[in-house]
């Protein structure tokens, strides 16, 4: 014991331990938590997490509202990538679909190598590449970790117009590929984490 | 009925007691000793002495044997040590056991059982604890106090031993 603690403090400590005051305090804290609301997200079959827009998930390639690809195959994303996971092969485009006459013949990303740093996003001059809110990337098939342009051009499951993050109720969708569980965006609870 | 149970308990007790001595592994010996003590407690129950039986289990099986086991585990007595120990003292031990049995046989043959058997009424048996307590604190108060004093001395002795060790270290 320090010399600073006098008889008074010792008596106080004794009374405190004799009446289990600290113990009761602790029990009170846990009792509070017992009746507090659970923070569990019952992913995936009851609830699903919707990340914020700033979330960096799988890449997407954007299109204009008329359905033209924004990507001009400048290869800046590929150059900026610290892990060399993006492969871009440009080609001349004479169909007139592209904004310019240069489009990507191949735009491929290897998600096993990707570290989701977002440099490709920053480097892109046309805002074609974006890291989306797609986070369910786990797979048992290594070929599912490489994404081609065709898949990346598909619309995101959580459109960009949905602002903020939150928890949405899950919805079972039956398709010919099997049952998928998607977020029911109509029933989304905004959260501030 | 009671006789059948008595023979069951007695046979198990004797077998366990022999196994204590015979088994090579000290932990097995301890296990057999526990079995033996439990059987003796069961025999106490048959003799209408539930208090003694409960005390036997509580003190010997519940506490003393745990201490034994604890010591065995801490010391980690290997088989070799036990064998060696048994060899060097085998003759003396056998001699002591034979002497003990001779004395016991002599006493048993000389003495007569003076306590009347079955002398307790059902009422007294139902108040087993009270009867034992009254006897201990009235008729046998002097031996009782002597025993408690001896135990106290042993307790103080144990503490003093530990204290000395600590003092010499510092």
């Amino acid at each position: 014991m320090n010399c600073s603690c006098g008889v008074g403090k010792r008596i106080k400590d004794f009374v405190k331990s004799a009446l289990f005051l600290d113990f009761i305090k602790g029990m009170h804290v846990t009792l509070g938590y017992l009746f507090s609301k659970s923070i569990t997200i019952r992913y995936p079959d009851e609830e699903k997490w919707i990340p914020y827009q700033r979330f960096r998930g799988r890449h997407t390639l954007n299109m204009t509202s008329e359905g033209k690809e924004l990507c001009v195959a400048c290869e800046l994303c590929s150059k900026a990538c610290p892990t060399d996971c993006i492969t871009v092969i440009p080609m001349e485009d004479d169909t007139g679909i592209g904004i310019t006459d240069r489009v990507a013949k191949v735009w491929k990303v290897d998600l096993v190598r990707c570290l989701f740093c977002g440099y490709c996003e920053d480097a892109c001059p046309t805002r074609a590449v974006r890291l989306s809110r797609e986070y369910e990337l786990s797979t048992t098939d290594i070929s599912r970790t490489k994404f081609e342009k065709r898949e990346l051009l598909l619309p995101e499951s959580v459109p960009e117009q949905v602002h903020g993050g939150g928890i949405a109720k899950a919805k079972f969708v039956r398709s010919k590929d099997g049952i998928k569980i998607v977020a029911n965006l109509g029933k989304m609870k905004k959260m501030r984490w | 009925m009671e006789q059948i149970f008595f023979y069951i308990f007695a046979v198990i007790a004797v077998v366990a007691a022999v196994s204590v001595v015979v088994s090579r592994n000290p932990v097995h010996s301890a296990l057999f000793l526990i079995v033996c003590l439990l059987q003796v407690a069961a025999i106490f129950v048959l003799l209408r002495a539930p208090f003694l039986a409960a005390t036997q289990v509580f003190v010997y099986v519940g506490a003393v044997m745990v201490l034994f086991l604890f010591t065995v585990l801490v010391l980690d007595i290997g088989r070799e040590t036990v064998v060696e120990y048994m060899h060097s003292h085998a003759f003396a031990a056998v001699g002591a056991v034979v002497a003990l049995f001779v004395v016991l046989a002599y006493i048993a043959s000389r003495g007569t059982i003076t306590v009347p058997q079955g002398g307790f009424s059902e009422e007294v048996l139902a108040k087993n604890v009270e009867v034992v307590g009254r006897a201990l604190f009235t008729k046998y108060i002097f031996p009782f106090e002597v025993v408690s004093f001896l135990l106290l001395i042993a307790l103080v002795g144990a503490i003093v031993l530990v204290m000395n060790e600590k003092g010499s270290k510092s």
């Binding site: 289990f20 113990f23 602790g26 029990m27 804290v29 846990t30 009792l31 938590y33 017992l34 009746f35 507090s36 609301k37 659970s38 923070i39 569990t40 019952r42 | 592994n25 932990v27 097995h28 296990l31 526990i34 539930p50 208090f51 039986a53 409960a54 005390t55 289990v57 509580f58 099986v61 519940g62 506490a63 745990v66 201490l67 086991l69 604890f70 585990l73 801490v74 139902a126 108040k127 087993n128 604890v129």
Partner: protein, 347 residues
């Protein structure tokens, strides 16, 4: 000659013991679920939720899993004792309940027969329970030793030392109860507490509450619950004495542990909170008194079981030397002083 009355007595006894065993065997299943639910909610989680509504079928799933798990016996283990240890742990846990009364003597309506809501009323009931409770330790020591693993051995040795230390305090608490109630028989102990909650041993001021706290602290040390669960200290000993056990053998240890939890709760109720006596005597017309007794008994025991779970998820674990200090330097001196005071009060 066959004595009909004797046969009926034996049949009633067998039925009672069978019923008790069945209840005790099935009790750990809901208890594990409740414990995990309490743990979950205290951690602001939900606990088991996927098997059945609110995860209520989770214990069933666990049981099936344990049944089909591989039963591993370590190669270097002492095979016989390794297999015996779970049984040694389990049997005393069940044996304790023979002496525990859940109700008094009840006259069954319509047939006008008296029935005891307990298996036996031993005149050394409390001593018997303490003795049997003390035997439970052997499952832990032998299991720990026979596994031939250092974690298991250390777990077993720790719990041996712990048992020895706390059994003294527990016995002193029992002595206190015996002094307050003037009997070793649990039925008598409960009967002396009848008539209203002010007669309960807990309210035998000023010593009653002290005895109760000594009992509950030593009791939770005896059954290896947090904050005294050094025998299975995950942080330092893997899983303690049952590190090497799997499958049904492991589940026997868990069974014994949960039954021990129930035992201490039941004892706390019987010794300090009036057993089956309601807080204030009352009768409801057309409702047999036995139901009222059972109702209050179950309620009180549930409260205590819940308290143990609540404590488990509140307190951290004691260090080994702290454990020994509490046992020898705090509980036992307080017990001795308390015996003196109780003795003076009883004169």
């Amino acid at each position: 000659m066959i004595d009909l009355a004797l046969i009926i007595t034996i049949i009633i006894m067998v039925v009672k013991v069978g019923l008790l065993t069945m209840i005790l065997f099935s009790l750990p299943m809901p208890l594990t679920w409740i414990e995990r639910k309490v743990a979950g909610h205290i951690h602001a989680r939900l606990g088991p939720f996927r098997v059945g509504p609110h995860g209520i079928m989770q214990p069933m799933a666990d049981t099936v899993k344990l049944l089909f798990k591989e039963d591993i016996v370590p190669e270097k283990a002492d095979k016989l004792i390794f297999k015996l240890a779970p049984l040694i742990a389990m049997i005393p846990a069940f044996a304790v309940f023979v002496a525990i009364p859940v109700g008094g003597t009840w006259t069954v309506p319509f047939i006008d027969q008296e029935m005891n809501l307990y298996v036996t009323d031993m005149n050394v009931g409390l001593l018997y329970i303490l003795a049997m409770g003390g035997l439970g330790i052997y499952g832990i020591i032998f299991g720990g030793w026979a596994s031939n693993s250092k974690y298991a051995l250390l777990g077993g040795m720790r719990s041996a030392a712990q048992m020895i230390s706390y059994e003294v305090a527990l016995s002193f608490a029992a002595v206190g109860v015996v002094m307050m109630s003037n009997s070793l028989s649990l039925v008598d102990i409960v009967n002396t507490q009848g008539g209203g909650f002010w007669n309960w041993n807990f309210f035998y001021l000023p010593v009653g509450p002290v005895w109760f706290f000594i009992f509950i602290i030593a009791g939770s040390a005896e059954i290896n619950r947090i904050p005294f669960d050094l025998a299975e200290d995950e942080g330092t000993l893997a899983a303690g004495f049952h590190t090497e056990y799997s499958g049904m053998k492991f589940s026997f240890f868990m069974l014994a542990e949960y039954i021990a939890l129930v035992t201490v709760s039941v004892l706390a109720v019987v010794l300090f909170f009036g057993g089956w006596n309601p807080p204030i005597d009352y009768t409801i017309p057309f409702v047999p008194i036995a139901f009222i007794w059972l109702f209050w008994f179950v309620i009180k025991v549930s409260v205590f079981i819940y308290m143990f779970m609540w404590v488990r998820f509140t307190l951290p674990r004691y260090r080994y030397d702290q454990l020994m200090n509490i046992g020898w330097k705090i509980l036992i001196p307080i017990s001795l002083v308390n015996i003196l005071i109780t003795g003076f009060m009883r004169i």
